[in-house]
């Protein structure tokens, strides 16, 4: 059970949060113009990295805000937390 530093509330227990999968997957602005393959790429394809991964998290039992986390999935170490729409502070 790790600790997450919510950018709006501060450090809280993981149990207050829900994970929302890979970050920085932008919903296409013109879905109708995409081929089946292109749409499938957005719809289904997600990375599942052992190592550093960019993820969406939601403070569901708190401020209910979504934000992004850079987490190492092998040891749950969190390298960065930043608000939705912000550029990732690390690469």
């Amino acid at each position: 059970m790790f600790l997450i530093n919510c950018p709006y509330c501060g450090e809280r227990d993981q149990s207050e949060f829900t994970a929302g999968g890979e970050a920085h997957i932008v919903r296409p602005k013109q879905p109708t113009e995409l081929s089946d393959d292109q749409w499938a790429e957005f719809l289904f394809m997600r990375k599942n990295i052992k190592g550093v991964q960019f993820e969406r998290w939601n403070h569901a039992h708190g401020c209910r805000k979504w934000f992004n986390i850079v987490r190492d999935t092998s040891n749950d170490k969190i390298h960065a937390i930043y608000k939705m729409g912000d550029k990732p502070p690390i690469k």
């Binding site: 829900t18 013109q30 109708t32 995409l34 719809l43 805000k65 749950d76 170490k77």
Partner: protein, 1001 residues
């Protein structure tokens, strides 16, 4: 009680307070301060169980958590009985009743011991090999195996004890209250760090507490005297919390730890009433200091499992701490110096020490010299090749070791004894360290795995970090703690420590015997009964990974998780396979370190606290009317209202008929309600629903279908436009929270530019739904000034109104196909409005109906229930609801997926109606549908999703999803059941009032 097994000058046991207890039905006596194990030993009872596989007699072997044999069932009460408890950890209390667990019918007469004679037939994986095939035989064997394998009995009634969970935050957590832990806790607390020190024993001090030996002195006093003063100081420190009888169960990431505190298990039964039995502490520590010590290893030699063979350090604790002699004539067998401490303690307490058998060449450390000075005989470079005695050891056979240690030489000496102490060296307790993700390194000189690298803010100190000599323990623990806490405590700067230094080390994982190896029984895992032979067999059969060997032989898989056996298993595997220990790795230690009760885990979350229960504001009325309730998510919803002993079917038939014939009333408060406001509210709805919303007039309602991005139906409900920029959305009862989350997600992440605000108002309003041809008359009685004409207040519209000056919202919407209204009013008024409606409807025989009738009525109309008729694989087109997909809108959630190659397939499963040939035959929901009965295998074309007997149509009706169903209207199909096949015909989904005339009736 055999008085002669107790020494009287003991400081830790209160020999003035006698305690009576029962073991295997026999009344025995012990003293306050005893454990069940020490009291049994004082009564000369060693035999406490039978081994798992061969049912060999087994005795108490240790004095703490690592005990593999003395596993007992405690308590007789069917709600309180607890299996798998270690006699070495049970503090004796008045009235304790315990029984041997792993033997049936009794510990002395044991049917399973027959296994022992057949033991050559029971090699590793015997259970797998014999009973996996043929499968039918397993059923036969299982009963006897389970019974004689003694896995303990679970309580059959709810646990009456009280358990608790609490959170705790600290700067420093110190696990283990031995020398290292005590010093670390003192350093931390004295430097103003908020410190917690826990220990699983009932007192601090570890083994130093009873170490009164010339060879171990601190500042010129015995180390036990010194530590007593240290403990006294600790209890006066104000930043320090000390919890004894508290064992660390799990060490998770981010220094999150679980510790179980035992609060009442040591009390007399009558003192426990209304007290919390166990508390699970959920600890967040900024820094963790692990000081869990080390445990002694056994030695692996022929017949090393007889009752009376005990770990040497445990014999020492029994004599020095509990004042109990494990025997009158004790032999010791060792590969290291620590057995000599035991020999000296025994000698000082007047116990005859026959000899020490030491596998090493003669060595001259301080402690060995002291033993020699006391006249204790030592067999150097020797090993025990066999032991004798069935229910208790009575002699050992000793031979000299060859120079390379692989065989024995010279004459065999037989030595009579009633107890054998064994010591195979020490294993640092690194379990917590590895649980936390730490990596181990191997130290070859004394064959130990030690903490190497951890990602967390933690250190290991003392013997769990590989320091075994007192002066090193003290020096290194103090240095490491100061460095770790970044402080400079000088309390222990000038300590003068005397300790014996071990000079020679030697280790043989599997000791040789004069008998051929295959004829020996050298046990590795005492609880799961696996031998060195089993491990070697596994290797011969091709198993290489230690994890596989472990599972195949079950070594280390019993309730003690192989605390005593793992190192030897590894050693033998490495030796046989010719690899280095360090390269082999270890098996994984998983939480909990010691078994945890379910009670401690769930704490207070039992009974009505197990989960949140949500009641509607009208709930009490339903209870008064003796409604049966149905769980819908966390909600309790009225299911049906039986009168005069009606069963469910009868009640539902009556309610359904009444709702269509005259009037029905339903509590719809549980439907999810989301208040949507903002200048972009209409645009937002356009994007989340499949149909168009911009042109919906103020005061009008519209049904909407919400999809997932994959095009599958997610939720549905009616949304009302309250004003230009203000909507009230309803969702399904079960979907409310998820829909809100989904909408918030899109608003925050995809469309942050939209000016929209979402508020859940589900609990703010109660909803009374009245339906049926007389609903209009009833409503007009309650709100006389509201114009209910179809022109002013048509279907799918809404009005603000007042009931007794209380504002409410009235929607004319229908989930039953009847003329109906939904009154939404502040929750606190909902019950009185309901009662008003009920009173006003009396003359029309208004009938309260529950969820079952609601489901039946909507099925008659072919309305879907998201989650019942859909399952996350149905598109609106599959549901034959093409009409609800806007052709004009450029985009909405899931739109693009509706014309993916898979979603446009014609032969997808589609929603259809089903009528049975026999109108009285009611289909089972979930039943499969096939098109023919003769061919095998039959293709499953679909299944029944909703099925009822309709009292209004006087026949059975059903909804189903069927492959290519749209095109199969009028086709005959079959529903094969266990004893018969039901003939059905595919129909339209609307069974009643296809023209929707009743909406305006």
């Amino acid at each position: 009680m055999s008085e002669n097994l107790r020494i009287t000058n003991n400081k830790f046991i209160d020999q003035t307070t006698r305690i009576s207890f029962k073991f295997d039905g026999k009344t025995l006596y012990g003293f306050k301060g005893d454990t069940l194990a020490s009291a049994l030993l004082a009564n000369n009872i060693h035999l406490v169980g039978r081994s798992f596989k061969y049912h060999r007699p087994r005795g108490i072997m240790a004095c703490g958590t690592e005990e593999p044999n003395a596993i007992v069932q405690v308590g007789k009460d069917s709600s309180m009985t607890e299996p798998n408890t270690r006699a070495t950890e049970i503090e004796l209390y008045e009235g304790l009743e315990a029984s041997s667990q792993n033997c049936w019918p009794s510990v002395n007469f044991d049917i399973g011991a027959v296994n022992n004679f057949f033991s050559p037939l029971i090699p590793a994986a015997f259970y797998y090999k014999t009973f996996m095939w043929p499968a039918n035989f397993w059923k036969l064997y299982e009963y006897f195996i389970r019974k004689s394998a003694g896995l303990g009995k679970s309580p059959t009634e709810p646990d009456k004890d009280i358990y608790d969970n609490r959170y705790l935050h600290c700067d420093v957590l110190v696990v283990g209250g031995g020398v290292s832990g005590i010093m670390a806790a003192k350093i931390a607390a004295k430097n103003n760090l908020n410190t917690l020190l826990i220990d699983d024993k009932n007192t601090l001090g570890g083994t130093t507490l009873f170490q009164q030996n010339e060879c171990f002195k601190i500042n010129n006093s015995y180390s036990n005297e010194w530590i007593k003063n240290e403990i006294k100081t600790l209890y006066s420190l104000k930043n320090l919390t000390i919890k004894t009888r508290t064992s660390l169960a799990a060490y998770h990431n981010y220094n999150y730890l679980l510790a179980r505190e035992n609060l009442t298990d040591h009390l007399d039964l009558k003192e426990r009433k209304n007290k919390i039995r166990q508390r699970l502490w959920k600890i967040r520590a900024k820094k963790v200091i692990i000081a869990t010590g080390a445990m002694e290893r056994p030695l692996v030699f022929n017949n090393n499992d007889r009752p009376g063979i005990i770990l040497s350090s445990s014999i020492k604790k029994y004599i020095d701490y509990y004042g109990v002699k494990c025997g009158q004539k004790i032999s010791l067998f060792t590969n290291n110096d620590s057995a000599y401490e035991t020999a000296i303690s025994l000698n000082n307490s007047g116990v005859v020490v026959n000899s020490v058998v030491d596998i090493r060449d003669k060595t001259n450390s301080l402690i060995v010299e002291q033993a020699e000075k006391l006249g204790i005989k030592i067999h150097w470079k020797s090993t025990v090749v066999n032991t004798n005695g069935y229910k208790k050891i009575n002699s050992i056979e000793i031979m000299k070791l060859s120079d390379d240690g692989t065989s024995v030489v010279e004459k065999k000496i037989k030595e009579e004894c009633d107890c054998l102490g064994i010591s195979g060296g020490w294993t640092p307790r690194v379990h917590l360290f590895t649980q936390s993700g730490g990596k181990l390194k191997y130290r070859e000189e004394d064959n130990v795995f030690l903490p190497e690298k951890s990602e967390l803010d933690q250190i290991s100190i003392g013997s769990c970090n590989g320091d075994f000599e007192l002066n090193e323990v003290i020096k290194n623990s103090v240095y490491s703690t100061n460095k770790f806490l970044n402080v400079n405590n000088k309390d222990y700067e000038n300590l003068e420590v005397t300790s014996s230094k071990e000079i020679d080390k030697k280790n043989i994982w599997l000791l040789p015997s004069d008998k051929p190896f295959k004829k020996t029984k050298s046990f590795l895992d005492f609880q799961n009964d696996s031998t060195a032979n089993d491990v070697k067999l596994a290797l011969r059969e091709g198993f290489k990974s230690i994890e596989h060997v472990k599972r195949y032989t079950t070594t280390g898989m019993a309730t003690d998780q192989g605390k005593l056996s793992n190192m030897h298993a590894l050693g033998i595997v490495a030796e046989t396979a010719g690899v280095k220990m360090g390269e082999l790795g270890t098996t994984t230690f998983r939480p909990p370190y010691t078994p945890l009760t379910f009670g401690a885990i769930v704490g207070r979350n039992v009974g009505e606290f197990f989960d949140i229960t949500r009641n509607t504001p009208i709930h009490e009325w339903h209870v008064e009317k003796k409604a049966e309730f149905e769980n819908v998510g966390q909600w309790k919803r009225a299911w049906y209202y039986p009168i005069n002993n009606e069963n469910m079917h009868e009640a539902v038939q009556r309610e359904s008929k009444a709702a269509r014939d005259s009037a029905g009333i339903l509590d719809a408060s549980t439907l999810g309600k989301i208040d949507i406001q903002g200048t972009d509210a209409s645009e937002f709805l356009n994007r989340v629903y499949t149909n168009a919303w911009s042109k919906l007039e103020i005061g009008k309602c519209r049904y909407g279908l919400m999809l997932n991005e994959d095009g599958m139906v997610y939720d549905d409900g009616v949304t009302t436009r309250l004003s230009e920029n203000h909507y009230l959305m309803t969702t399904t009862t079960g979907g409310a929270a998820n829909v809100l989350s989904k909408l918030e997600d899109y608003l925050q992440t995809e469309w942050p530019e939209l000016d929209v605000y979402l508020t859940s108002v589900t609990d703010h309003y109660g909803t009374v739904s009245i339906c049926g041809p007389n609903s209009k008359k009833i409503l007009s009685k309650i709100i006389p000034d509201l114009d209910l004409s179809d022109k002013e207040f048509p279907h799918m519209s809404f009005k603000n109104a007042f009931i007794n000056d209380i504002k409410c919202r009235v929607m004319r919407i229908s989930f039953t196909g009847e003329h109906s209204y939904e009154i939404n009013i502040q929750s606190s008024y909902a019950k009185s409005v309901w009662e008003k409606c009920f009173a006003a409807g009396k003359e029309f025989n208004i009938t309260p109906y529950g969820t079952e009738t609601m489901h039946l009525l909507r099925a008659e109309k072919g309305f879907i229930i998201a989650g019942q008729d859909t399952d996350g694989t149905m598109t609106p087109i599959d549901l034959q609801m093409d009409w609800i997909i806007s052709k004009k809108k450029y985009d909405f959630i899931g739109k693009r997926s509706l014309y993916r190659s898979d979603t446009v397939r014609e032969d997808r499963k589609q929603l259809v109606g089903l009528l049975t040939d026999d109108p009285n035959e009611i289909l089972e929901e979930g039943a499969q549908i096939v098109s023919e009965t003769n061919k095998q295998p039959i293709e499953m074309l679909g299944h029944v999703t909703s099925s009822y007997f309709s009292p209004n149509l006087n026949k059975s009706i059903a909804l189903a999803v069927v492959k290519n169903g749209k095109k199969l209207k009028g086709q005959k199909m079959f529903v094969p059941m266990k004893n018969k096949t039901i003939n059905v015909t595919i129909t339209d989904t609307v069974f009643l009032d296809k023209e929707n005339k009743r909406l305006n009736a």
